[in-house]
């Protein structure tokens, strides 16, 4: 029995040594975002009137589905706002951090044979898991305390020490819980992709279950750990029992992981990996089909996220006029156009921001080609009678299709939510038109990616930089006082913010033409350059 745990201490240091930067980076980002949100909220919602307008928005079911049931809405303090709006998403991030940490140290280490190398030393069978438990426990405790202390130290009246500590601990126990879950699933699945996929699927499912539960079935919300932590009503009710329930749940999961790890063979899984297809589907016959097959999961995931984003933005519209009137910060973001309401101006801006989000899966798709090249898989493909031009064309076509569908889906989400909350809503077709009118700007980014791919393959990251630049220059440029020409460098600045601005076919055609020229240049370069460098 004692032998099972031999060597835990040096292994703890070893695990920490490997993972410290990743863990610290995740924790820092989570804490910084939360601190910034507290500071921003005190800035943009200084008075109770503005906060009550926001509380109004929070009463609507779409918000409840996304963030959890609102609480303390009658006296919506900064604390209540942060607790309600930030806890769930920060907890999701903490869960993701732990899932990745545990998976890379368990199943993935086993798959790559790193585990075998360690076990051949005088090291107990569950020592590595024990070390991982220690590291996870300490990391999550560290996150809890640091988050709590840093938020409490901001000196915001409603963000007091006890509540902030509870807030931090809720993040910590969520992390520990999902670490335990992943450790258990890592015993079950045979491959690291499998255990990682399972863990994230459970996380997603828990989020959905919680959302449905929050809309009316309390017991359903309590089944999900994510629903459970929201019952703490942190910063308002400060109910502590969810923390203890989560700790018990984590202990059970970790115990299960230890039990099964002790019983099973190295490399074996409790669930045998189920055999896949012996032959390919009849559709997998072209490079385009292959491109879709490779990006399928990513694309579907992004489309779901964009639909939710559309819903989320749309759900704010109910009390928008009231909300915008009291909010100087947001009004500054909106272009003032004669004859249009602030709501309409906001609609245009939302569509523009959504198009910057929707271009991400399109960009991921076209840049997948670079990954294929670096991994050497492209070589196998091009050794067949398939031309480079055809392969490039397939990925670009898929990317453009993704861009179109992404805008349709996010536009649909926006339209659904806006019409659910507004008495006299907007027509479906104009909203769809406004979404599709964003395509030229999006294609501009894709064109930059194609150009880099063809001429400067080492610097395809430039496409991402250009998107980041566009976001800052177009979205915030006016606000932080950048000169107008900085925005004009971005293809997005030529997108019309409908309905407040008209659609100008000539400008759209010009942006498209420039994009096409860039893509053509990229395609020429791609056909001429050496592959696989």
């Amino acid at each position: 029995m004692k032998d099972l745990f031999t060597g835990v201490l040096p292994l703890c240091r070893f695990v920490w040594r490997q993972e410290r930067w990743r863990v610290m980076l995740w924790c820092c980002i989570m804490i910084i975002v939360n601190v910034l949100v507290v500071l921003t909220y005190t800035e943009i919602y200084p008075s109770a009137v503005e906060r009550q307008a926001m509380a109004q928005t929070m009463r609507n079911p779409a918000m409840t589905f996304m963030l959890g049931p609102g609480y303390g809405l009658d006296d919506y303090t900064i604390g209540a706002m942060v607790g309600h709006e930030m806890l769930l998403f920060t907890a999701l991030a903490a869960a993701a951090m732990n899932i990745l940490l545990v998976n890379v140290q368990t199943r993935s280490a086993e798959e790559d044979g790193r585990q075998e190398l360690l076990l051949s030393l005088p090291v107990g069978r569950v020592s590595n898991l024990s070390a991982l438990l220690v590291v996870s426990l300490l990391s999550n405790l560290g996150l809890a305390l640091l988050a709590g202390v840093s938020m409490a130290s901001l000196g915001v009246e409603s963000v007091d020490f006890t509540s902030s500590l509870l807030y931090g601990l809720l993040l910590g126990v969520t992390g520990l819980f999902f670490a335990g879950l992943t450790a258990l699933l890592a015993q079950a699945a045979e491959s690291s992709r499998g255990s990682l996929g399972l863990a994230f699927s459970v996380l997603g499912l828990m989020y959905l279950v919680r959302g449905l539960g929050d809309l009316g079935r309390e017991w359903l919300a309590l089944v999900s750990p994510l629903g459970l932590i929201l019952r703490a009503q942190v910063y308002v009710g400060n109910i502590w029992w969810p923390v203890f329930v989560m700790l018990v749940g984590s202990a059970v999961l970790w115990w299960g992981a230890f039990y099964f790890r002790r019983e099973r063979d190295l490399g074996a899984g409790l669930i045998p990996s189920r055999p896949g297809r012996e032959s390919a589907s009849r559709l997998l016959t072209t490079p385009l089909a292959l491109a879709f097959r490779l990006q399928r999961t990513t694309i579907i995931g992004w489309l779901c996220a964009l639909f939710l984003l559309g819903l989320a933005y749309g759900s704010v519209f109910g009390d928008l006029e009231l909300f915008l009137e009291g909010n100087e910060f947001l009004r500054d973001l909106l272009p003032a156009v004669q004859g249009y309401t602030l709501t309409e101006a906001f609609l245009g801006m939302v569509t523009l921001v959504m198009s910057m989000m929707a271009v991400i899966p399109a960009l991921l798709t076209v840049l997948r080609l670079r990954r294929e090249e670096k991994s050497g898989r492209l070589e196998s493909l091009l050794a067949l009678p398939v031309s480079r031009g055809k392969v490039l064309r397939s990925f670009v076509q898929l990317s453009i299709m993704v861009a179109i569908v992404a805008m349709l889906v996010s536009g649909l989400g926006l339209w659904l939510a806006v019409n659910a909350v507004l008495k006299d809503g907007y027509g479906f077709l104009p909203m769809l038109g406004a979404s599709l009118a964003q395509l030229p700007g999006m294609l501009g980014i894709v064109a930059v990616a194609v150009f880099c791919l063809g001429t400067q393959p080492k610097y395809t990251g430039l496409a991402w930089a250009y998107l980041g630049y566009s976001f800052v220059a177009v979205y915030f440029g006016g606000l932080i006082g950048l000169p107008e020409w900085t925005a004009k460098l971005s293809s997005f600045s030529y997108n019309p913010q409908m309905p407040a601005e008209p659609f100008r076919p000539l400008i759209a055609a010009l942006v498209l033409a420039v994009s096409l020229v860039l893509m053509a240049a990229g395609a020429v370069g791609y056909r001429r350059r050496d592959l696989g460098l």
Partner: protein, 297 residues
């Protein structure tokens, strides 16, 4: 008929000169061994032949067509197995095989099934879970299932076990019977020796020796062990004889092929009891060329 031909092929990556005027010829029906140590330029040559890299200067043609310009048409008649096979982790082996087959055009399902059985591959597993050997099997099955006229194999057996290596060799011999051509890059010399009838040796981006295995053997010393009734003398003074050693009553030495006759005449005067000669192995050949780098040939 010439299937593969490169003329004064050069390729540089920045300041590094990978190929320095490489002349390679593979004729129809040849199983052509392409040997050389790591970094000599084997893979660069192959990647130029496949149109992945553009030559800095010189020509590379397959089936009389330009490797760079007519890549797609050439690939219709060519099958390739890379040394380091990388497959899509979320596709199964079977799906990858079908994809390869369909992009090539037609595939024979019976041939596919036969190869899967001979190579003992489980096509229902995801490529991400395959070992190096299994990934190599997928690439080999895809190649052998095709009706290509030229097979370019870049160290194709580096992950295979001896049994699978045997299966591989059977299929290569089958290709030879069918009159198809193979360019086999390898540094497993015993394999090249078993399969290839022609060999080109590459060093520092140039072909330093090329010809049939027979021809090449003539360039190298034969090893001889001899036992005579009367004590042997004067052997060291004969031209072409080296490394004379006496061990266990036998005299061992090596002799260059062209002097073999005169040496035998000399030996017969001492009443030969036992005479063993072994031809030079490819390894001897290889080491002879690589010993003393920079001396040139």
């Amino acid at each position: 008929m010439t299937i593969v031909q490169t003329v004064d092929l050069r390729k540089s990556f920045g300041s590094v000169q990978a190929l320095n005027g490489l002349d390679l010829v593979v004729r129809g029906g040849q199983i052509h061994g392409f040997i050389g140590p790591n970094g000599a330029g084997k893979t660069t040559t192959i990647r130029i032949l496949l149109g992945m890299l553009k030559p800095s200067s010189g020509q590379a043609s397959l089936f009389g067509r330009d490797a760079w310009r007519d890549a797609v048409d050439i690939h219709r008649r060519t099958a390739y197995v890379p040394g380091e096979v990388s497959l899509w982790p979320n596709l199964t082996g079977g799906e990858a095989l079908d994809l390869f087959g369909r992009l090539r055009g037609k595939q024979d399902p019976r041939r596919r099934a036969e190869l899967i059985e001979r190579f003992d591959l489980d096509p229902s597993k995801k490529c991400g879970t395959y070992s190096k050997g299994n990934r190599q099997k997928v690439a080999l099955i895809a190649a052998f299932a095709s009706d290509a006229e030229l097979f370019i194999l870049d160290e194709p057996t580096s992950g295979l076990d001896p049994l699978m290596e045997q299966v591989f060799q059977d299929y290569v011999r089958e290709l030879k019977v069918q009159g198809r051509s193979v360019l086999l890059s390898s540094h497993i010399l015993s394999e090249v020796e078993k399969l290839c009838d022609f060999v080109s040796i590459i060093r520092e981006g140039v072909i330093i020796e090329s010809g049939s295995l027979e021809e090449l053997r003539h360039l190298t010393s034969t090893h001889v062990a001899v036992q005579t009734k009367r004590p042997l003398s004067g052997l060291e003074q004969l031209p072409g004889v080296e490394d004379v050693v006496e061990r266990d009553g036998l005299v061992h030495f090596s002799v260059e092929a062209e002097y073999l006759g005169s040496v035998i005449t000399h030996l017969s005067a001492f009443d030969i009891v036992k005479l063993e000669s072994s031809p030079p192995t490819l390894e001897d050949l290889f080491i002879r060329h690589y010993r003393g780098q920079g001396e040139g040939r």
